[in-house]
């Protein structure tokens, strides 16, 4: 009863979503958005006409102006700096626009161009000092703030009267200041256009990525060849230009140059930036965050002004929010990974009946023996982590290595060894196609093809994105094993969509169906997901009928069969379940049966823990990773089974000297070749009663011409 309840609770309650949602970048934007909604709601309740069209249009105009400066500030903060001089640049460019228009009577387009150029120039001063001379951004822009402000003060002493005296009545200028299209103010339209461009720039274009990379780690960015100094300098130029755009709209709207224009603007914009969730110190941020931050700050300051708060209170509120936002931001950035790693592991209920006996004297097909004790060793100490081994038609032996290579051992004695191909990721399952191309599943990379001359080509590294997953499951995280059908379909397993290659044991701790089987069509190059929700799918082998595949679910401890063609197409059938160990690769045997590797044997403690998800969750939260209860992969065996699900024979290394753990095996000319992902050797075992001329791919594809 209790087990049933637990099983129902864990089947229908999506525990795994919390960690996945928290690890999404957009959750960081979600928090400011929620804050914005709360502030907006609170103010609309306490102030009349807060949401009236006129009030909204007015807010939109101000938001547009501050929004431009916010974008510039976001840019320099993302690149790892800060720009305090925006207030003074704002004042100076505002003066520049009005001076050119009112005193020198320039035409409006020329004024616009000249003002933008002025902003770029002022920003360039910051840019050269910070980017090229590598001064500290804060102190430098603090100084340019004083210098620009003093220059502005000196200028308005001379020209404020002549500017105040002029009343330009130019339609295009008035449109900039007060025009609208379908009720949307001009400034908001321009802001939207620039924001959309900014979003594409930051997320899709190379310079935008460079900016984020520099903010994330300046040194690494430099080492990877990004022009760090130039990029930083250009960010400050862009900040200056964006500020001057804001100043243009401001100048056109109000047309005055008061002494206090832009004073304290930097604090407002900075507050907005931090409040939006753009991390101080760089590397993180987006246009949307900048916009949300600006809106929050504007609503609060406008709201306080409307409520007749004293100047000091306004100041305190702004500073208080700024501090709070900075604190939350910094603490969250610091502890984010820890929090996520605590909640990410979401174990589920997984009950298995007691396993069949394997002890000596108990009988049964799994009874332990010592057959693998005296295997020949190939490449001892010269190869690391051969997860899978395979032999070609010329009897050469191939195996993956931890260093991202496919190694080739030459027949007949397998002493000579060479790097057949370098891929860069951990090679897992392998299979030859009709043209002797070697297809390899690479953990973390996808499915790769190696031509007989050793050229590496990517076959596929993505599949269709499923609609209901939070994690992006279109990329392949852990392609594991594959087989090729007669029609050129490649079925390969992806063990988990929730963990990376190096974290695969944690998936065993979760025991959720996180894996899937994916089909790649060599004819069309298309990839699609054939079956999902599997508990660590692993070995794959085309069955004798040519219409179905056998696949192993490692943590499901079962072998299943999936029909991909014929009358039973799409059906899944259990071939064997409740295995005493965790099944890994499946391969053909010369007598028409199948070889299966058990990478490790089940243990009563983990079987029990699998029925207790709450226990495993507490363990994942409270105990350091290296003390977690993981599936045992120290001892396993090789078994032979038939399509009816009957175990015919088993092979053990009882003393655990040569091949205690085995992830794969291949039969070839009367020998069984053994690979293991933790091993530094390949085993070669002489089979009794086996066909001495059996070559897997001669049998599958016919003799080579």
């Amino acid at each position: 009863m209790r087990d049933t309840l637990t099983s129902l609770r864990y089947r229908y309650w999506p525990d795994h979503l919390l960690g996945e949602i928290l690890s999404k970048r957009w959750t960081e934007t979600a928090i400011p958005v929620i804050l914005l909604l709360i502030v907006g709601f609170a103010l609309s309740r306490s102030i009349d006409h807060f949401l009236s069209p006129a009030s909204l249009a007015d807010t939109a105009r101000q938001a547009g102006e501050i929004g431009f400066i916010g974008l510039g500030m976001a840019l320099v903060v993302i690149v790892g700096g800060i720009d305090l001089s925006v207030g003074s640049i704002f004042a100076l460019t505002d003066f520049c626009a009005l001076y050119l228009l009112d005193v020198l009577n320039w035409p409006v387009p020329a004024v616009v161009v000249a003002t933008l150029a002025c902003g770029a120039l002022l920003g360039a001063v910051n840019g050269v000092l910070i980017g090229y001379l590598r001064l500290r951004a804060f102190i430098t822009t603090l100084i340019t703030l004083i210098i620009y402000r003093s220059a502005f003060d000196l200028l308005i002493q001379r020209y404020s009267n002549s500017i105040a005296a002029a009343f330009p009545d130019i339609p295009s200028w008035n449109f900039i200041g007060g025009g609208d299209v379908f009720g949307i103010p001009s400034v908001a339209l321009v802001y939207i256009a620039i924001a959309i461009f900014g979003h594409i720039f930051m997320t899709r274009l190379r310079p935008g990525w460079h900016i984020t990379a520099i903010g994330g780690s300046r040194r690494s960015a430099y080492n990877s060849g990004i022009p760090v100094r130039r990029t930083i300098a250009l960010c400050y130029v862009a900040s200056g230009v964006l500020t001057s755009i804001a100043a243009l709209f401001f100048a056109a709207r109000l047309g005055t140059v008061g002494g206090d224009i832009g004073v304290g603007l930097e604090v407002i914009v900075l507050t907005a930036t931090v409040l939006g969730g753009i991390t101080l110190g760089g590397g993180k941020g987006s246009v949307a965050k900048s916009l949300v931050g600006v809106l929050i700050v504007l609503l609060i300051t406008n709201g306080l002004t409307t409520l007749n708060a004293r100047g000091g209170i306004n100041r305190m509120a702004l500073a208080g929010i700024l501090l709070l936002a900075a604190m939350v931001d910094i603490r969250w950035q610091k502890n984010r990974t820890r929090i996520i790693s605590k909640v990410y592991v979401a174990p589920t209920y997984h009950a298995l009946p007691p396993p069949p006996a394997t002890e000596i004297g108990q009988g049964g097909p799994f009874e332990q023996n010592d057959k693998l004790r005296d295997v020949e060793l190939i490449g001892l100490g010269r190869i690391e982590a051969p997860e899978d081994v395979i032999l070609d038609r010329n009897n050469n032996l191939y195996a993956g290595s931890r260093h991202g290579d496919i190694m080739r051992f030459f027949a007949p004695d397998y002493q000579r060894m060479e790097v057949f191909a370098h891929i860069g990721g951990q090679p897992l399952g392998m299979a030859f196609d009709r043209q002797d191309n070697l297809y390899v599943c690479i953990g973390g990379m996808g499915l790769y093809r190696i031509t007989p001359d050793g050229t590496v080509e990517k076959a596929t590294d993505e599949t269709n994105r499923s609609m209901h997953s939070v994690n992006d499951d279109s990329r392949l995280r852990l392609a594991d094993d594959l087989d090729i059908t007669d029609d050129g379909l490649i079925f390969f397993s992806e063990a988990t969509v929730r963990y990376e290659m190096d974290e695969w044991p944690i998936d065993g701790l979760e025991a959720r169906g996180n894996g899937r089987i994916i089909c790649y069509d060599t004819k069309t190059g298309a990839t699609h997901t054939a079956l999902r929700g599997l508990k660590f799918p692993n070995g794959i082998c085309v069955a004798s009928d040519g219409q179905s595949i056998l696949f192993a679910e490692t943590f499901g401890c079962s072998i299943k069969r999936l029909w991909f063609a014929g009358p039973k197409k799409g059906q899944v059938e259990v071939v064997m379940d409740n295995l005493p160990g965790y099944p890994d690769n499946i391969n053909l045997a010369s007598d028409g049966n199948y070889w299966l590797a058990l990478v490790g044997m089940r243990s009563p403690s983990l079987d029990l823990a699998w029925k207790m998800p709450g226990f495993r969750r507490r363990m994942a939260k409270r105990v350091p990773v290296d003390e977690w209860l993981f599936p045992n992969i120290n001892t396993g065996c090789v078994v032979k089974f038939n399509e009816q699900g009957k175990i015919l024979e088993s092979f053990w290394d009882l003393r655990g000297e040569n091949h205690p753990m085995i992830t794969s095996m291949r039969e070839h000319r009367g020998y069984l070749y053994l690979g293991g992902i933790m091993n530094n050797r390949i085993g070669r075992y002489k089979l009794d009663n086996a066909d001495p001329n059996y070559v897997q791919y001669d049998k599958r594809w016919g003799k080579a011409s």
């Binding site: 001064l135 500290r136 100084i143 604090v267 110190g281 209170i313 509120a317 500073a319 208080g320």
Partner: protein, 323 residues
């Protein structure tokens, strides 16, 4: 490298000497007793603030909120006395406020790990806003009868030396003692030199950082009292001025690298003399306030550029968020 490093103080001192000489010769009214008195008095407050800033900068921080500490607690003293409280009680309240303020600063920087520039920028606004909104009735808090005798802190002379100069000297001695003779002074240098190494060595860096900001705020408050005493009022609007940049200027020009771990009281004195002379000279030359700011800004910029060449940032220990 070494050749440059020990030369900086001397260069600045030489510049000061040349400037002083030039002003004395070419500027009428510069080398008069009254002007010297004004110069020194103006410089005294700046110098005391410079000491506070130096303390923080040596520990690889910066305290933008010093002006708030200068304006608000002394303003509170004047306001409370005006409202009829006794002077000692008012002073005690101000000191407690300052300590609380320093604790907030220190906690934010040491424990919440907000960058010091940022934290003090915000707390300064917060304190100034508090003063503006809740503490003061007018922007300029006036002297009242209850303050009788307290003006001696900033006016008059002791043994022929203007009191504010004596106050500056006392502050210098105290800070020099703290930095050179006590254990936590050595800790501050260690933290400023390499915070991670200091922490690994077992130095209680967080409490020391907090202490640093508390002491800095306290010195700021002291400077404010001296200032209020010398002008017989507390213009709290001083917060809006560019005084803080002068303070940074004093520290950086004096040769205390912003990357921390270097410098001492002597640097502050030299920096103060140079800035004082410069400002005084410009005032006599009748350069407008904005013009003075312009010149100051340019000089500060040059100083920071020079500083970045003489004391380059240590990329190994510079933090990622260290802006």
């Amino acid at each position: 490298m070494k050749r440059f490093r020990f030369n900086q103080q001397e260069i600045v001192f030489a510049v000061f000497a040349v400037l002083f000489l030039a002003f004395s010769i070419f500027l009428r009214g510069f080398l008069t007793p009254e002007n010297m008195l004004t110069l020194l008095q103006n410089v005294a407050v700046l110098g005391i603030l410079g000491l506070a800033m130096a303390l923080v900068v040596i520990g690889r921080g910066i305290d933008i909120s010093l002006i708030a500490a200068l304006a608000v607690p002394p303003g509170l003293v004047l306001q409370m006395v005006q409202n009829g409280h006794s002077l000692p009680a008012s002073l005690l309240t101000a000191v407690l406020l300052t300590i609380a303020f320093g604790l907030v600063n220190g906690w934010l920087i040491a424990y919440a790990e907000v960058p010091s520039l940022f934290a003090t920028l915000a707390t300064g606004l917060l304190l100034a806003g508090l003063g503006q909104a809740a503490l003061f009735q007018l922007d300029v808090v006036q002297w009242s009868d209850g303050m009788q005798g307290f003006e001696r802190l900033g006016q008059g002379t002791i043994l022929g030396v203007p009191t504010s100069i004596v106050m500056f000297a006392i502050a210098c001695v105290v800070v020099a003692f703290l930095l050179r003779q006590t254990r936590w002074g050595a800790y501050i240098y260690a933290i400023g030199d390499n915070p991670y190494a200091a922490r690994v060595t077992g130095i209680p860096s967080r409490p020391i950082i907090v202490l640093q900001y508390v002491v800095a705020a306290q010195i700021g408050c002291f400077a404010g009292l001296v200032m209020a005493a010398s002008v017989n009022s507390m213009p709290t609007r001083v917060f809006n001025s560019t005084l803080i940049y002068d303070v940074i200027l004093v520290v950086v020009l004096g040769g205390i690298g912003l990357s921390g771990g270097r410098g001492g009281v002597l640097n502050v004195i030299i920096g103060t003399l140079l800035i004082g002379t410069m400002l005084n000279g410009m005032t006599i030359m009748d350069i407008s306030y904005a013009g003075q700011n312009l010149v100051k800004g340019v000089v500060l910029l040059l100083a920071v550029i020079t500083d970045s060449f003489l004391n380059p940032r240590n990329e190994e220990t510079a933090q990622q968020g260290d802006i």
